[in-house]
Every structure is written in C-alpha cells, then in structure tokens.
Subunit: 443 residues, 2 copies
C-alpha cells in the first residue's frame, strides 16, 4: 500500500460523525489529526472552536504577488447506519476491486485528502506552492454547516481570496474531468387555505360553500400551463438563456441523457418544459414544485367531510439571474390573485438561496479546464447541477468569490449509504488534479 | 308530570348505547321494555334477534281493506361522552325550561315514543286504528344499521306496506310542520396518482419529470368550472330540474336562508352553482367534493421532495334522477381523460347510494301535509335534505315503498352532543301528529 493510501486509511478510521454527540470526541480527534498533518507539511494551522465542531484552517506563507486560492472540504461524515448492510466495517477501510470502502471515502475525506496530498507533493517537489493557499475544512457539513457562515463573516478579511475550489460534487463518468460551474437556487413558500369554521358534513353543506381542498388544488393547477411551463407572471423575466455551447456540451455529457433520467427516476415518462432536454430542464431552467399537499381525511376508506382547511408546500428552483426575493413576491402575487372565491389564503414565505453560476471560460475557469485536461483523458465536461449547495452561496455572498466545483464522486459511490467507496484511481487522480490546478490557477 | 312524560323518562333511562358492548344488556332491556309496552297496548309483538341488537316489530290486527303504514324508529342511542359536559346525567332525564334533557331525548326515543303513545291514545279513544300498522324499531341505527337490510330482505312479505313514516329528521323551526320528501345520494371514489419509483430530490430531478402532487391538483381542478359548476361530461344529464313550487316553498323555509348558511358554516363567503340559493344548492343540486387530498411532505417546515405519489378522496352528492353507477363511470372517464401526462392514475370506485325523492303532492304526501297542518300552525314546510339516509334507501330498494319524513328535531337539540334535549311541546305535538297522520293516511 502506498503511503498516500495509508494516510487515507488513517483519516477514514476516525468515526467523525458530526450529527451524533457520542462521536464529538472522534470529530475533534479527526480535526487534531488534520492539524498535525498540515503542520507537518510546513503550513501554519489554526483550529477554530465553534458552538459545534471545529473549523481547521491552514495556509502557506502568502505573498502579495500571488493569486490566493481557497480550498474547502469537510472532515465530518454521515452516520454509518444501517451497519448490518456494510460488507466490511465502515471505519475499518478495505480495498476491493480497486475501490476503497469506508464511510467518508468519497464524501468527503478521499476528495479532501487528495487536495492535501497534492499540496504536500508540490511542496516536496518544488519547495513552495505557486499560489497563496487557504485550506478551510469544516466538521459540520453533514448537519447543514450551521457555524460556517458566521465564521466566514467573522474572518472575512483573513479569508479573502481570488478563487475557491471544492471537490465534493459528482464526476459524470469514471475518469472524466468534470467542472461544475452552476447550481440552482431555491425559494420556498407554504400556502394555507381556510374556509368553513370547522370540518363540515359534505352532505348537509356540500354545494353551498367553497371547499378548501378543491381551492388549494385549483391554486396549484394555476401554477403551470398544460405543457409544464410555469405560469407565474414574469417568472422567466430574469432567466439567463442557455448558451449554444452549453446545449452542445451537455448533449455530450455521459449519464444525463433523457433515457438516463427516465431510468434513474423510475417515472412512467419524462415531462417538462418543451424544447429542453432533461439535463437542460434540471440544470438551467427554473421550476415550481409541490413538496407536499394535504387537507381533509387522510386515513383509509372514506369520510364525507368538507374540510375546514388545506395546505400546499411549494419550492421553486431558480436559475441565474432570478432573484429569490423578487420571485417569491411574484409567487405571492400570483397565489393571491388566483385564489378561488369563497376561501381565505395565507401565504408564508420560507427560506431561499440564490442560484449560482460562474463563467467556466473566465481565466480561472479556463485554468480549471486545463488542469482537468492534464489529469483526465478527453475534454472536461462543463456542467451545472439542479440542486443547491448553500456553502457555495455563502462563499459568494460573504467573500464575494466564485467557486469551481471539481467533482470526483462517481454515481455509484454510495455516499450517505452503506458500502460507500472511492476508487483508488480517483484518489490518485485527485492528487494530480490539485497539483495541476494550483499551477494553472497561478498563471 | 303527565303519564306520557313519565313513560318517556323510563324509556330514556335505559343507556341503550349500541356501539358499546358493555351496554349490550341495556340495549336488550330497552327492547324488552318496548315489547312489554306494545303488548300492553294490545299489539302483537315480535323480538327478532340479529347478529347485533334485536329488532322489535309490533302490529295491530290487519284488515285487507285498510292501508298499511310502517313506522320506523330506533331505540339505540349515541354514547354520552364527554360526560363532564352534561349539566345533568345523560340517563337521568330532567326537565328544564320546558325541555327534556337526556341522551336520546330527540334522537330518537322522544320522537319514536310519540308515535307509540299516539297509537295508544287512538286505540283508547276509538278502540281501533284507522290503518294496518307495522312498527319497526331497530337498535343499531347509530352504528349504521348493519342488520336492517338483511332483515328487510328476509321479511319482505310480512313488511309489505303502502307508505312508511319516520320521525328522525329536522323540524325547520319550533312549532313548524316539516315534511321531508327528498335526500341526496352519494358516490365515492379514490384516485391515486403515481409518478417516480420513489420520492425524488426536487433539486436534482425537478423539471424533468411530472410531480404527482401537482398532477392530482390539476385533476381536481378539472372537476369544476370557475363558477362552481361540475365539469364532468354529462354530469347533469339526468338531474331533475327544480320545480317552481319548490323554489317558492324553500324561499319561505325558516333557518335555511343564505345568511343562515353563512352563519352556520362560518365560511368567509358562500360559493356554489350560479342562480341557486344555498338551500337549492344543498337539497336539489349535485356536487363533487374533495373529502381528502394528500401527497409528499406533511410535517412542519419544508422538505424539498418530489413525491412519488399523491391521492384524492372524492364524494359526489347526487340528486334525482342521477344513477350512482352511471355517474361513477362518468367520473372515472373524466379522471382518466384529464389525467396529466407523465404520471399513472388508478381510480378506485367506492360505496354509493341512490338519491331519494317522493312526491309530497301524492295522496300520501297530501295526507301527511294535512296531518302536519292539523298539528302545527301555518302551512307545513316541504323540504329536501342534502345528506343521505341509507335506511330510506333500503326501504325504497327492498320494500319498494316511499318514506315520509316528519321531523320533530330542532336545530339546537344537541343530538350526538352533551345536553341533548327535546321540548315537551314537540313530544306532545308528536303524539297528536301520529293520531292525525294515521287518520289522514287512511283516507
């Protein structure tokens, strides 16, 4: 076993489960191991206590004539349950068929340590790094990073940087360089429709008063045109159109063809905005989804009640350049305008997050592409993702810096599940990728 | 206290709660008391055991040249809980302000005993009744009459009659003769919409596949036009139009003005089919109501899930001459036709019951009106009701006989609630009503 793999095994052996208070000491031990490792590489380190688990910071000696690169990772992991479904114990790493099996192997210890070892290798080979580096490793990503944003605010000056790199997203296919440059935002709302003062007998009163469950359904139906387009007035006003190169690029991305979406979702058919592929629909087009709807009798059989109230929980996924607060107001206006007669409506606006996109053809974007090309065969795949990563948004909002997403996680890595794994090939490629990346970003 | 009230107090003192097995003996004792009472009046009696509580039958000596009248009632009562909310114990009747307070006072012992005592009085006064009488008293009405229909089937011949009378419905206002001649029917269905094989992440997949919760809402929205009219093709084909006399009559009925519906329901506004009053909408027009809708996340806050399935429970209220099975097929056709793309639909048809109406201007109807007029001041109110009474349907289906609903229950009688009560005035009027009714029906 290589010394690099040996170190990964040591890192993986810490059961640094952030959500479980009985692992608090393990999370701290893992942070201390990192401090020791990073100090040993000649970096200056800081362990910052938070109300939860500590944040680890490491830097080389910064020079004003060099670019500053911040690399983010997280050393906490998901719980390993259900333990019985693991072929080997989650915190006793094992190699089978070229893959490292352990909790955190891909998410995120394997990807994160590759960056550390890449830096170590460059330092050994060249005596110094081509850039000013800031390593920021948190221990609370799996519980929603509650202390990261306050930390960024507090240390805004010290963390100022030119570009951020994260390896904690997907690689579209084995051995395929993947650069993520966009994420969808989110805007949530809950609607409550109230009608009669109490549940009514649907025989005695049905027909004379509006039914809140019917009304909530009519309201939801008003959100879309039959072709799947969102019908909220002005919803698409700020949507950045897909560029030709994006459509061409995404058509080449493996694993996200329409038939892949059909298979992965198990839906009877695909359905969405006309004239877009599934990847385009999920990566670059906004949506209005019902996350939950309810009202009246929920049990088995029938109960002839005319319910007093009904609700719907909505979340909109947003894309550049939609502004969540603007869209939420448009949604509220739409809902109030389309509320059927005879009922009252309450719209409660919920949490939101801005959509994110950086330019993969900017100088930093091109540098990342060259690093990927140097590390993996073929052209790198430039993708967006449909979900939201609040950390990226926090970096953008607080530090004002773009993030390059250099994902090494394969679709079958079983992250958050039993038998999580990380190919040795990806680990080794990650080390080389870090070396190439810092070199290219320095240019 | 009059001997009649004394007998009602005795009848009310039996805790004949049909749903509670620890009262099984009380229900039986109550039935035996009835047998004793009716036998003592010179009627021939039968106590029929059923798998549940017994059915009591009593008859006078029948003569082929007389009309045969069946009077139905039930001697079982609702549970008295919550006991703490009763001002006096539910099975220790007490008179306050001219009202008898006890469980079953209105529903149905008071109304039922009035018929018995009316017959007794006529027998005492005239030595015989003007009609052949069949008294049918069951002990399972409050648990859905599970053994009544089989009993009717089995004793069809013995129970053959010209007309049925029941006093177990509402009197529209104090001292106001009320004849019910119609009820709505019902037809139930449950719809299940399925989409993806499992709940999906609404960020990763939202936009690419149809959302079953959205689809179920769109399906529900397809059931009505914006003005509240049901949009199912052919839904109104067999609906018997309201007659002019009905609209004129109902406009005079106290307690069912639009403002009364608004107050009783506590709805922010009335809403329903244009050009009908609330009474007309609930008594003579069919509906399509959502009794329950659900799908996706039901808890507090938000969860960004794209649900795998959603459901809606529907019940249609039907009016003459709609056929439940025909309407259910039309509903099914509508739902399948309007199911949005990208999801699968399963429609499960549920229970149904035919609408009911008899002619209040038939010979028997006129006789009932004369009896009401002889008993109460002013013209009797001719009404329908919005709910369904399965017993009336069973009589119609099995015996082929119409039912006259001569209600003595006031809106504030607190039936099924603590402090149920029955005005002495209604009890005494009920006795006179029975005497007049049998006399008029005999003509």
């Amino acid at each position: 076993m290589t010394p690099e793999l040996q170190e990964l095994f040591t890192f993986l052996a810490f059961p640094s489960v952030s959500t479980d208070s009985k692992h608090k000491q393990d999370v701290l031990s893992c942070a201390n191991w990192l401090i020791e490792k990073l100090s040993g590489m000649g970096l200056s380190t800081e362990l910052h206590e938070t109300p939860g688990h500590p944040i680890v910071i490491a830097r080389n000696e910064h020079s004003p004539d060099k670019k500053t690169v911040l690399i983010y990772g997280h050393y906490d992991v998901q719980p390993a349950d259900p333990l019985a479904l693991w072929d080997t114990p989650p915190f006793a790493p094992e190699i089978r068929d070229g893959k490292i099996y352990a909790r955190g192997a891909t998410d995120n210890k394997g990807q994160m340590l590759a960056h550390i070892l890449g830096i170590e290798k460059t330092l050994k080979e060249k005596g110094k790094l081509p850039v000013n580096i800031i390593l920021l490793f948190e221990g609370e990503e799996e519980i929603g990073s509650p202390n990261l944003a306050p930390f960024l605010e507090k240390h805004k000056q010290d963390l100022a940087c030119d570009i951020i790199a994260i390896s904690d997203t997907g690689m579209v296919a084995p051995n395929t360089g993947t650069l993520g440059y966009g994420l969808r935002g989110i805007a949530c709302a809950e609607v409550k429709i109230t009608g009669p003062a109490r549940d009514l007998h649907s025989g005695l009163f049905g027909g004379a008063v509006a039914n809140p469950a019917t009304a909530v359904a009519q309201l939801v139906a008003s959100l879309h045109l039959p072709d799947g387009t969102v019908a909220i007035d002005g919803f698409y006003d700020e949507v950045r159109p897909l560029e030709d190169w994006e459509r061409e690029m995404w058509a080449k991305v493996p694993g996200v063809k329409d038939e892949d979406f059909l298979e992965v979702t198990g839906s009877p058919a695909l359905f969405g905005e006309p004239n877009y592929s599934s990847a385009e629909r999920t990566w670059a087009r906004p949506t209005a989804e019902v996350n939950g709807i309810g009202g009246g009798y929920q049990g088995e059989g029938s109960k002839t009640v005319l319910p007093a109230e009904a609700f719907v929980k909505l979340s909109l996924r947003l894309v550049p350049d939609q502004e969540p607060q603007v869209i939420l107001q448009k949604l509220k206006t739409h809902l109030e305008k389309h509320c059927p007669p005879g009922v009252n409506i309450e719209v409660e606006l919920g949490h939101d997050g801005k959509p994110y996109a950086c330019d993969p053809h900017s100088d930093f974007g091109k540098a990342a592409q060259r690093a990927l090309k140097a590390t993996f065969p073929g052209e790198p795949m430039l993708i967006r993702e449909g979900g939201s990563i609040p950390i990226v948004q926090a970096f953008q909002d607080i530090l004002g810096t773009d993030t390059l997403l250099l994902g090494l996680a394969l679709a079958d890595a079983q992250i958050h599940s039993p038998n999580e794994n990380f190919p040795i090939q990806n680990f080794e490629a990650g080390i080389r990728l870090n070396q190439a990346l810092l070199e290219e970003l320095a240019k």
